[in-house]
């Protein structure tokens, strides 16, 4: 299991392969077969090779590459109208909570999966952790062959220790004035400044998606008795006696938080995706893709 969750492991790569294959099947079912697969020329061009996985159409296998390398690979084609996809990953300390995986770990896997899908679709990819003021963009990555480099960048991201995701977002927007497609991965557990920054992002980006990631602990607030709560970001404390009534009130606040995030997103043309860090990676990506296809 651990092998399949490490970003650089073969098992995780296999998961991504299977995921892309499922997406392609989904796309084919939706009548997009001609656009998403092959044929070279026209609106598609060759993006590179990827390993063959069970379920791939054998006609996609590049037999000449097999003859050269002894490895079964399939050709990947993409649209010509490629665009830049920016993955903005919340790197504040609050993302380091949740057990296990933490929200940060879950977000990296999710972002890596979506990034791989984007690479397979011929898009260029950039990665930006947002947790501090200045934001450094990593990439761009293009083509399936850059998957390894892209994943290494994810693996090199340190533990989330930032304290101001809003400042990070503002820094990104200062650097990229007209972003293309943007996917933000954040728990949104900050005071209104983050909301304002997300609103600006929605207004600036051609296409924005907010994966609102909360851990099961965030969602349920399963605490009991007398506790001293410590904020993971600023170390502030709050002493509370928590009983069933307090837990119910907390869950109402969580629902309000998500409701407010959804309304904010709707108002600024952002695709809002509430996610739990315990959710299945595949289900989340497939859900996202299905929703995107509907739109």
């Amino acid at each position: 299991m651990a092998a399949s969750t490490s970003l650089l492991s073969q098992a995780f790569l296999d998961r991504l392969m299977r995921l892309v294959w499922r997406l392609e099947r989904l796309r084919a079912g939706a009548g997009e077969r001609g656009r998403s697969r092959r044929r070279p020329g026209g609106t598609h061009h060759f993006l590179g090779h990827r390993p063959y996985v069970a379920g791939d159409d054998p006609r996609q296998i590049d037999w000449s590459a097999f003859a050269r390398t002894d490895h079964l690979v399939v050709k990947v084609f993409g649209r010509e109208e490629e665009e830049t996809v920016d993955l903005l990953v919340d790197a504040t300390a609050s993302m380091g909570t949740g057990s296990p995986p933490t929200k940060a770990e879950a977000v990296r896997r999710l972002a890596a999966a979506l990034g791989f899908v984007a690479l397979c679709s011929g898009h260029r990819l950039r990665l930006a952790p947002v947790g501090e003021g200045p934001t450094r963009l990593r990439g761009p990555f293009a083509g399936v062959e850059s998957t390894g480099a892209f994943l290494r960048e994810f693996a090199l991201l340190g533990a989330p220790v930032g304290r101001d995701a809003a400042a990070g977002l503002r820094g990104y927007l200062a650097k990229v004035r007209r972003p293309g497609a943007v996917a933000l991965f954040s728990d949104g557990l900050e005071e209104p400044a983050l909301g304002e920054a997300i609103a600006r992002l929605g207004g600036a980006a051609a296409e924005a998606t907010w994966f609102h990631v909360l851990s099961p602990e965030d969602l349920r607030g399963e605490l009991d008795g007398s506790v001293v709560l410590t904020d993971a970001e600023d170390g502030a404390t709050l002493e509370l006696v928590i009983g069933p009534a307090e837990r119910r009130a907390y869950r109402r606040e969580v629902a309000r938080l998500r409701q407010a995030a959804q309304e904010l997103s709707a108002h600024h043309a952002i695709d809002y995706r509430p996610v739990s860090s315990a959710d299945s990676l595949e289900e989340t990506v497939m859900g996202w893709y299905a929703g995107r296809a509907r739109r």
Binding site: G98, G221, G225, D231, P244, A249
Partner: protein
């Protein structure tokens, strides 16, 4: 009166609040807990919990209440209160031998009397409680029914005339002590006593002879002849003259022609049985005559010599007999072994299935004052050392005390009990008391120990005596098997039923259920407050 079965458990009562307080204190001690953000928890805190400020104290109070209620419930609280009202109606049925004589309508007086009882009960409202006694006491002793109950009619119809007389005055005295309406059904005239004036009197026919066999039996020695014993009592008011015959197979021999005045007793011992053999059924018959046409017969079967001794006459304590009947007789066994070493006791025990307890129930009694035995032993499966659990029973204690002390030492698993005389060095009589069974032990000092009452002072009674010393044997069905039937009365109840000591009628009502309900209510309250 309120009582507790396990008083020691009350010691837990102060512990309960202390433990709960300690747990609550531990629960309220703040524990550090990191969270992603205080954003939402601050909003929860801002919503305020002032209205719940007093809740923890109330919760603790309810928890203490529930805990204490459960502890008290576990202690087995009960309330003793007077028993419900006594039966509204009590009936005494005379079933002495004279009741077999023809009554006014030519049928047996007992039959006519039972019909009269049914007519007397008919106008009573259904459900009226009816207590029925008989003289001599019928199997099962005093019974209680309700008017309209089919079992009442069935029980009355099942009554038959007894083979011997008894003191009707005792029965009338017992009846008069009962509350409510009382009725006597008899062929005797109402006595002039004050007691008799306080009861209704239902006469069935004129007084007649009332005679019958009052004891009988046979003894056989190994290889020797069988000897009979028989006694006849004329309990009537006129002189009788009756033939007494012995039937052995096809042979009928007149033993004697018994002539007796009122109240006289005729007895004979060592009556030879011509050609009688062990195992053959013998019948001693006092032929009917005078006003009492019915025969009175004893039927028995001497066991082969060397296997078991035969019938003898002696007393078994009335208390034991009552206990036997109260528990519902199924089988009574005689199992002596090495009995000579403990003054030749006759040991009776009755094995009964008991649904109400898994522990052996043992009733022990001995006639009159006795020098006692050691009663006790070791758990058979556990193999504890002999001597554990020993208890002195008997002595000069009256029956009830001996019985209760025996009960006290037998609560537990299977017991291997040894019965010993008090004097050291006497041999023991091992008796296995089975778990889940009730046992009735009776000790009969048919011996010559100084200071014991003479055997003649015991009420006449038939039972099996012990013929083999040092050998264990069992005889099934002393009181119920056909081969020990004596006349028509298979129970041979003691005539002294009216004199049985009775505790004040009370009922015990367990209160544990209410306390459990109280605890549940407290827990419900806790749940509501928690919510």
């Amino acid at each position: 009166m309120i009582g507790l079965e396990r008083l020691a458990l009350l010691g837990l009562i102060p512990v309960v609040p202390a433990v709960l307080w300690w747990l609550e204190r531990a629960r309220r001690r703040p524990r550090p807990h990191p969270v992603a953000s205080l954003l939402l928890w601050r909003r929860v805190a801002a919503a305020g919990t002032a209205s719940r400020r007093g809740v923890p104290a109330l919760l603790l109070l309810l928890e203490c209440l529930a805990g204490v209620a459960l502890v008290v419930a576990a202690a087995g609280p009960f309330r003793v209160r007077p028993a419900p009202a006594a039966p509204a109606v009590s009936i005494l049925v005379d079933r002495q031998p004279g009741m077999a004589a023809p009554g006014v309508h030519g049928r047996p007086r007992l039959v006519e009397g039972i019909e009269a009882v049914a007519a007397w009960l008919e106008p009573l409202p259904a459900g009226t409680r009816v207590r029925v006694l008989s003289v001599p006491a019928a199997p099962g002793g005093t019974r209680e029914f309700e008017v309209g109950d089919r079992a009442l009619a069935a029980w009355l119809e099942g009554l038959g005339p007894a083979v011997r007389g008894a003191d009707l005055d005792d029965g009338v005295g017992a009846l008069a002590s009962l509350p409510g309406r009382r009725l006597v059904v008899t062929d005797r005239p109402r006595p002039a006593s004050a007691v008799a004036r306080n009861v209704d009197w239902l006469g069935v026919g004129a007084p007649g002879t009332n005679a019958g066999l009052v004891w009988g039996g046979a003894e056989a020695s190994a290889g020797g002849p069988i000897g009979l014993r028989v006694g006849v009592l004329n309990g009537g008011t006129r002189a009788i003259r009756r033939p007494l015959v012995l039937e052995a197979g096809s042979s009928v021999t007149t033993v004697a022609v018994v002539t007796l005045g009122p109240g006289e007793v005729w007895s004979e011992r060592d009556i030879a049985v011509p050609g009688g053999a062990s195992g053959e059924v013998l019948v001693l018959r006092l032929q009917g005559g005078d006003d009492l046409a019915a025969d009175d017969a004893v039927r028995f079967r001497p066991r082969p010599a060397g296997e078991v001794a035969l019938v003898a006459e002696e007393a078994v304590p009335a208390a034991v007999q009552r206990a036997v009947r109260a528990l519902g007789a199924e089988a009574v066994r005689v199992a002596p072994a090495a009995v000579g070493a403990i003054e030749r006791p006759a040991v009776y025990w009755k094995v009964l299935p008991r649904a109400d307890t898994a522990a052996p129930l043992v009733l022990v009694a001995c006639p009159g004052d006795w020098n006692g035995i050691r009663f006790g032993g070791s758990y058979a499966p556990a193999g504890l050392e002999r001597g554990e659990g020993w208890s002195e029973v008997g002595g000069r204690a009256p029956y009830p005390e001996a019985v209760s002390r025996a009960l006290a030492v037998t609560a537990g698993d299977d017991w291997t009990v040894e019965l010993r005389g008090r004097d050291p060095g006497r041999e023991a009589l091992p008796v296995v008391l089975r778990r889940g069974a009730a046992h009735v032990l009776a000790f009969d000092p048919v011996g010559e120990a100084p200071g014991w009452p003479a055997r003649e002072s015991f009420p006449a009674f038939f039972y099996r005596a012990l013929g083999q010393v040092g050998e264990t044997f069992e005889v099934e069905g002393l009181l119920s098997a056909a081969d020990t039937t004596l006349g028509t009365d298979t129970s041979r109840p003691p005539p002294a039923a009216a004199g049985a000591p009775e505790l004040p009628p009370t009922e015990t009502e367990p209160l544990g259920g209410w306390l459990v309900v109280l605890a549940l209510l407290a827990l419900l309250g806790i749940g509501r407050l928690e919510v």
